[in-house]
């Protein structure tokens, strides 16, 4: 039974996601469209499973939702801060900096989410990963204390992602 399930759904979460995206694309819910979305979800995950053989480990959904809410709140707060910097700070007083974040995360999915979060929160852009994937290069628009920024990102985002992908 589990083997048949694994054969049909190599990535169950991706199948669910594709079905939901298909239903949203229709902009109108009907049973036929849901079934068609499910068929698409099964076919697409089966065909692309060759390039993504390993299933990502378990994810705590509730913790992930709270993480998403925190990120959305941070995006709004940081947007206003950066808008203030753009409007009021002259270029000569701007202190951009590179900061290096040593990573405790190992899963590629978790590192991708962390890098995406850092880029989406205004004021920081994740620029690069080291060749073995142990640290992340981040560019900050304006900072007085790069070390505090690094610790803030580690404490606020990476610690939560570690719990989510534990």
């Amino acid at each position: 039974m589990t083997r048949a399930f694994n054969w049909l759904f190599p990535h169950p979460l991706l199948t669910v996601l594709l079905t939901v995206v298909w239903i949203l694309l229709q902009n109108d819910f009907s049973a036929g469209m849901a079934v068609f979305g499910l068929i698409l979800g099964v076919i697409i995950t089966k065909v692309t499973a060759v390039w993504w053989p390993e299933r990502p480990g378990g994810v705590s959904v509730i913790k992930f939702l709270s993480y998403a809410l925190i990120v959305i709140w941070d995006i709004m707060v940081a947007n206003i801060q950066v808008a203030w910097i753009v409007l009021t700070k002259p270029n000569s007083k701007l202190r951009p900096a590179w900061i290096v974040i040593p990573l405790d995360l190992v899963q590629p999915e978790a590192i991708t989410i962390l890098a995406g979060t850092i880029t989406l929160t205004p004021g920081t852009v994740s620029a690069d990963l080291s060749d073995e994937g142990h640290s992340l290069l981040v560019h900050v628009l304006h900072t007085d204390d790069p070390d505090a920024d690094r610790d803030g990102i580690k404490e606020r985002y990476e610690r939560r992602l570690k719990e989510i992908f534990a």
Binding site: V86, D128, S130, E132, L137
Partner: protein, 129 residues
């Protein structure tokens, strides 16, 4: 106050917020004089500016028409793809040396953008040969 009046005001406020952030992002793009700091402007427009405009579109569709969920998809795709384009622009900047050189990583040898295979080293850094 009917639902239409409240909806109209909500749409107008969302449009104003979105337009204001888009304007501030553009001012930032013009004002900053370094390619890395300039990169920070589009990430702002991509999140709050577009988010507020799409929210206005959603409220309008739900109040005055049957409602539409396409905006959620647009937002999801934007949030997924915006960091990737920002990442590529940052990588190009590092390659072109148009910004300060990044500090070396603490654990590994180098950043993956600067990691050139042995066979291509002469092509990558001709001035050192």
């Amino acid at each position: 106050m009917s639902i239409e009046v409240i909806g109209t005001y909500a749409v107008a406020i969302c449009l104003l917020i979105g337009a204001a952030f888009a304007l501030i992002g553009t001012i930032g793009l013009l004002k900053f004089n370094d390619s890395m700091t300039r990169l920070h402007a589009p990430t702002k427009v991509g999140t709050i500016g577009i988010g507020a405009l799409l929210l206005a579109s959603m409220i309008h569709a739900h109040v005055f028409a049957d409602g539409s969920m396409h905006e959620l998809l647009i937002m999801a795709f934007l949030f997924v793809t915006a960091p990737i384009s920002a990442n590529f622009i940052a990588k190009v900047n590092i390659h072109r040396r148009s910004c300060d050189a990044p500090p070396p990583p603490p654990k590994d040898d180098t950043w993956s953008t600067l990691n050139v295979p042995e066979a291509d080293r002469e092509l990558a850094e001709p001035e050192k040969v």
